[in-house]
Symmetry: C2
Subunit: 289 residues, 2 copies
């Protein structure tokens, strides 16, 4: 397996821009090309040296590329795959950074030519900020990347893609596209929706009384509505089942909210606190590894 | 109005200990006395100089005090008020740091002698940490303190209490005990319950995939179960109505979660993001004032 010499980044926003910066700071040679639908974004990406060459069509950007990374919102993947399909170099490896995986894996199988090799990826890095102006080379460092191979994934392409993410400092976990989407509905998509609902249900006169806890708890609701709309719609079956489980947990809490159940209520609260603390310690260990 | 010369802190945990440190760093003379039911906590409070004198009964601690601050969990307030009632110096001002206000205002009216003057306070500072070992003199600095006077509150005592909080750097807002409990159910108690439920509903295999967003969103669920149990039970009528409004907001989201409503869904998500951003900017302005 050789290091890709020509990397094409389709979509140079926060993730695409950071990917260019991270790759260029990790390898000593090679070329990074970028596609963006806004000229100003491409110019900014060139200026901060996230990319070496800029193209205004994805068809041009993928020419001669060894590895191609889809970095647009997931709602645009289908259109993007249709546009690059006829232009892909034979043997090119294609991956993505999307927060849902079933749809892009299915679409790539339907749309890309047999000579192209697709591997689904979800590098779990980001920010509620959007745009190449927030790009930074360490965005992916020490974070987890989930790859989602299937029975039809080319083993060598999988190796290439996993090595690619490792080169910029990521840890790898493999999951099926189905398991990925189910678990991410619980740990990422549901918390986003809940944070937005907690903001939405507030009265104007209550908000000035909120403290640091409220600001932290709702930070994830600060993301771009269009980006998240695509993710939530794409994963709506799993998200609905996560919402149903959340409702059941809230109903259970409601039943415990009586002086007669004070001890069980304390246990329910302590169990959540302890579970989170254990997770936090595990995350801190990972970061110090 | 004169600065209190003898401050009695009943309960020297995170809040009580921080209050002693804050007061002593803000005034040049006077004495801070502390009551705690554990000798080791009192010794630690003496060691870090959060208090000058330590007492193992609240009756002893309130002797000759000008201002007395209840800093135990709210579930202990009734017992504490019954114990100090016969021992209070005439004219003493009593306040508290409880996260609910209707019950302590009602109980103080029922239990304290007419010569004692009670004013409800909720200094909105704290941490998911517990214990005097986390006490720090700047815990209250620049934070908001809600006072909850009623028709029977002594105006001079109200002034004394508000000046007390201002001396340690707090901003003051007045609310009725009823309005306080209703608004705090929305901005504080509900977010705590929701964060705990989001942790509780996770599958073990999903948690390792959680990111920084999940850790932040659930931080408030890390608090002590016993403390929070008291608060949530005490405010359960308002909390239930907040939970009901959250359920309605989640149901509304659920109806929008269809490709046919993609535009409304984006607007719902963007509205929450923008509302939170506006709040964040306002909080940042307050801190820089």
């Amino acid at each position: 397996m050789t290091t890709p010499r020509r990397l094409a980044i389709l979509g140079v926003g926060l993730l695409g821009g950071s990917l260019g910066l991270a790759w260029k700071s990790s390898v000593s040679s090679g070329t990074v090309v970028g596609y963006g639908h806004r000229r100003s974004t491409l110019d900014q990406a060139l200026r901060i040296e996230a990319i070496d060459e800029a193209y205004e069509t994805p068809e041009q950007a993928v020419q001669q590329a060894d590895i191609i990374v889809l970095c647009t919102p997931v709602g645009i993947f289908e259109d993007l795959l249709r546009r690059i399909a006829p232009a892909l170099p034979a043997g090119a490896v294609v991956t993505d950074v999307g927060s849902t995986k079933r749809s892009v894996v299915r679409l790539s199988g339907q749309i890309l030519p047999p000579s192209a090799r697709f591997v689904g990826s979800h590098p779990m890095a980001g920010s509620e900020r959007r745009g190449v102006e927030f790009a930074r080379p360490d965005l992916f460092h020490n974070a987890l990347c989930i790859t989602t191979p299937t029975e039809s994934t080319d083993p060598q392409a999988l190796q290439t893609v996993e090595q690619f993410w490792r080169t910029i400092g990521m840890r790898i976990t493999r999951l099926s596209p189905e398991a990925h989407d189910q678990l991410l509905a619980d740990v990422s998509h549901l918390p986003h929706v809940v944070a937005a609902a907690v903001v939405a249900m507030q009265k104007d006169e209550g908000l000035p009384l909120s403290g640091k806890g409220f600001i932290d708890a709702t930070r994830i609701a600060g993301g771009d509505g269009g980006l998240w709309r695509d993710i939530l719609l794409d994963n709506r079956d799993n998200l609905r089942s996560a919402l149903q489980r959340l409702r059941e947990n809230l109903d259970q809490f409601d039943r415990l909210l009586e002086p007669a159940h004070a001890e069980e209520l304390r246990q329910w609260l302590d169990a959540a606190a302890q579970r989170r603390e254990k997770l936090l310690q595990q995350k801190l260990r990972e970061l110090s590894d």
